[in-house]
Symmetry: C2
Subunit: 599 residues, 2 copies
Amino acid sequence: MPSFFSKRDLHFHLYELLNVEQLTDYPYFKDHQRESFDMILDAAEQIADKMLRPLLTEMDRKEPQLINGTIRVHEGMKAVIRRFGDDGWINAGFSYEEGGQQLPVTVQNAAAFIFQAANYSASVYPFLTTGAANLIRTFGSEALIKRYTPLMYSGRWQGTMALTEPNAGSSLSDISTSAEPTEEEGVYSIQGQKIFISCGDHDACENVVHLLLAKIKGSPAGTKGISLFVVPKKRITDQGLIDNGITTAGVYHKMGYKGAPIAHLMFGSDNNCLGYLVGEPHKGLSYMFQMMNEARVGVGMNAAAIGTAAYYASLAYAKERPQGRPVTAKDPTQPQTLIIHHADVKRMLLFQKSVVEGSLSLLLQCGFWADLAHVSEGETKERAEILLDMLTPIAKSYPSEMCCQTTSAAVQILGGAGYTTDFPVEQYYREARIHPIHEGTTGIHGMDLLGRKLLLHGGKGLHYLTEEIQATIDEGRRSSYPDILNIAAQLQTVLERVDKVTASLLTLSPENKELFLADATLYLEFFGIVTMGWQWLKQAIQAQKSLEHSKIDGDLNFYRGKLAAADYFFEYEVVKTVSLAQRLMSHNRVTVEMQPDWF
Amino acid sequence: MPSFFSKRDLHFHLYELLNVEQLTDYPYFKDHQRESFDMILDAAEQIADKMLRPLLTEMDRKEPQLINGTIRVHEGMKAVIRRFGDDGWINAGFSYEEGGQQLPVTVQNAAAFIFQAANYSASVYPFLTTGAANLIRTFGSEALIKRYTPLMYSGRWQGTMALTEPNAGSSLSDISTSAEPTEEEGVYSIQGQKIFISCGDHDACENVVHLLLAKIKGSPAGTKGISLFVVPKKRITDQGLIDNGITTAGVYHKMGYKGAPIAHLMFGSDNNCLGYLVGEPHKGLSYMFQMMNEARVGVGMNAAAIGTAAYYASLAYAKERPQGRPVTAKDPTQPQTLIIHHADVKRMLLFQKSVVEGSLSLLLQCGFWADLAHVSEGETKERAEILLDMLTPIAKSYPSEMCCQTTSAAVQILGGAGYTTDFPVEQYYREARIHPIHEGTTGIHGMDLLGRKLLLHGGKGLHYLTEEIQATIDEGRRSSYPDILNIAAQLQTVLERVDKVTASLLTLSPENKELFLADATLYLEFFGIVTMGWQWLKQAIQAQKSLEHSKIDGDLNFYRGKLAAADYFFEYEVVKTVSLAQRLMSHNRVTVEMQPDWF
């Protein structure tokens, strides 16, 4: 079986690029060191390889089914979830007092990446629980924390995020699930329905704990009236667990990502569903959004992980498959060459490599900022928070959009074989497609970047990011290597292009708000490529340095590959910003003025 | 159920753009007129809507299965194929003497487009038979023609093209299936295996007739040693049909396009498989290639048809789905707006519309040239042949590549719903993905365009095409409408860009042949966008003319939609040629120099 990720590359990101060990200078992480991080990654690889990967295909073929009101998932999931609980993965980042390991987010995400690359669907269950538990521990009462989180950490109870409703997807302000106060303080009677709830019901855990958004009766309209509740499938009473009035109305059958059960749920049809308020009333959406960055970076990571697995699957195939001959030596009496020697195949491999490794670089960088935001203080903390905020729409969307294309390149390398279920690449292609949709569509993130993040904190996000990119360019310009100088100079030009495009768009706001935001998705794409260019310059600078000092053959190849991928990325991807900039600055009104009847 | 294509648009292409009625001036088509074409399209729509479309989802869910040595396909296919036979669709273009209707290819392709948009898999069976029968009638002996084609035309016998082998996919010269002469002239003993044979075996027809490539023992190596054979599943003897020694080793399970059975076949394992030579020995590949243009344009049409169905599915959804509010009026107490009013959704719809209608325009244009090549003489014939030859790689690849992206946009418009099997768009997304692979991968077509077609016939292909594009630009420049003038001027610039890029690449050939061809795929993409720009200028000029004279509301909307789509295409797609040109002219060597060990 071909490998599905590269630990060598993960180590490069963690130890050479980010120098993640510097986090251990902070008291919260002081018990850690490189050795403990390595052990954790090795442990993740063990589980990924032995437990998750063997289920990859099977979980795709045997979809979850709704039987007698409960969703039955693959029988292997019970052991997987319990193992995640037993080994402490669900609450690894939480404090010792909470039973956690105080592990940096950067390392947690690196481990999650390994799980996701092995079996995306299986990886969803435990980390949804982490997100839900995180909401309770951050905003919930002591009683709620005590009652719910230990069983969630152990993997016995599943956590979910219950947001979407039939009429409220991208427009969350329109949810209509209601919460009516009962006689007991903090306890509400819940009524409504939720759709697309990941792991919303299944038989691999003993209970399901929904972190649910609802409106307390009489609340103001829109987002200001939304509150957050813990709504368990079975609620705790003195007599033990009893049914809490939630009905599973259906399980979605999907194009991919089939191993995870996505449920349609009805709450309180018989007036017997209780929810427990988390924090204060009407603050539900803001609580949810404070966790959202994490989930969104997580989606980017999922996409990059699936893209990585597809990359290695197609790489293994390209190294084994003979077909055709070099264009300069077409003699049919000679044996065929391996397809990895064809420039067009190498192009498709470099495309995948540059996108997935560039994405991983940015995503781990985001994890690092999350750690700094958590443990540092003052300016460092503020800067990390704002950079994370600014880059979240890109960290979510660039990998999500691009890994649809990289998995497509993987399919293409395998040709007809890639289109069959005999190889895993077609599954990766199907699984990649969910990511531009969930946790905010690409369109929503475009609006978030251009319409919100750009101007948030008085424009500090763009300012800090530009400083970071400029610092990398400056470092590149001090290099003595022409290749580094060349791409640093290119990035300088591109950075100036960002300024021009942004300034040009801002002339439209606020008078022409519709036109200003009309191509927010393209602006996001443009910005995504620039950000990746920055990550590739960083990687190239580091690779060039390491190359000088390394004498190990495998390492030399690794660093040369990095330099080639950086070259590729600037040559084939960054160049797209020329056309995108021209497009974004033309202020053409066709999408605004198009009339529905003209289609 | 939303519509799956637009007859209005088909009529625009056939009667306003191409003026297909002019073909009836040629004796071969003299019995036809617009009324008969209309009747044929109406008949196609009837079958598509009543027979094909109802099976679309079912055929995806109930895949063909290999049971007791035979592939069982959906039970509805028997009636479908027989209907195609009974109504004369399989040989509609052939002469009256052959029982055909002497229907122009342009109109046949328009009808095929309707079938393909309704149910791609179902449409494959009859038209594969057409292609196989066409080979027999063009190159086969009278005896072969008489023996095989009538039963193929009737739909009782399936035809196939049996090319690919385990070690010979893109590199056809490496086939190893052998043919050994028997005592009877023209009859050979066949041995070998073929993979990925569409409709290679199934139970909806009484027999399967393979048009198979094999090497006669002792033939020269490479493509020069390849011959073409008729190899039926059951061969005709005086005692009736008997088994011809072909074993179905397997049926492929695929990501999409599941309704058509793709077989792995073993020929002559027991030395009892006979093949009948078609034409002369060693000319098999050239025969096959003479039919290949047709098949390749057909693949482009499949892709455009699937893209069209997905476009209309997402358009219908966008017109019904309320979500969110205008960016300038976010009041949550107001009702939500339909998503078709969001600029980002209109952008995704315009993207689909411009790609699928532009593709259809080019593909019908190719059909028209095929007709001219068939019925005209002298310079007109030569020009049509060369233009068709030149544009075939683009007509195959542009729709194939881009409809992977347009069907993705359709999924995106539906959001989470689009990822579920409750809507057909996810199926379209899966089905679109085969087209960049079969009938020559995109990489192969890039090499064909840059490495062959550009220099073929002394460069006449590029010369004629440039003349055609220039003529359209000149017409646009005589317009009194600023929008037309604007895009005509843009296309002029782009045409000059083609010259520059091509000249720049040609400086590399032949000394640097590997580098010259390394980015052939990107050159094909570049050229595809230019060609589409040309088709959109043509459509815009015509739409503007028709708009002046039309007074019907629906027509006004239709033409305004065309003008908006042309505007969109230049603004969002043609602009990509700027970056592509920069890329293609840089002569960067990264994909050539990348080493396998560096990945």
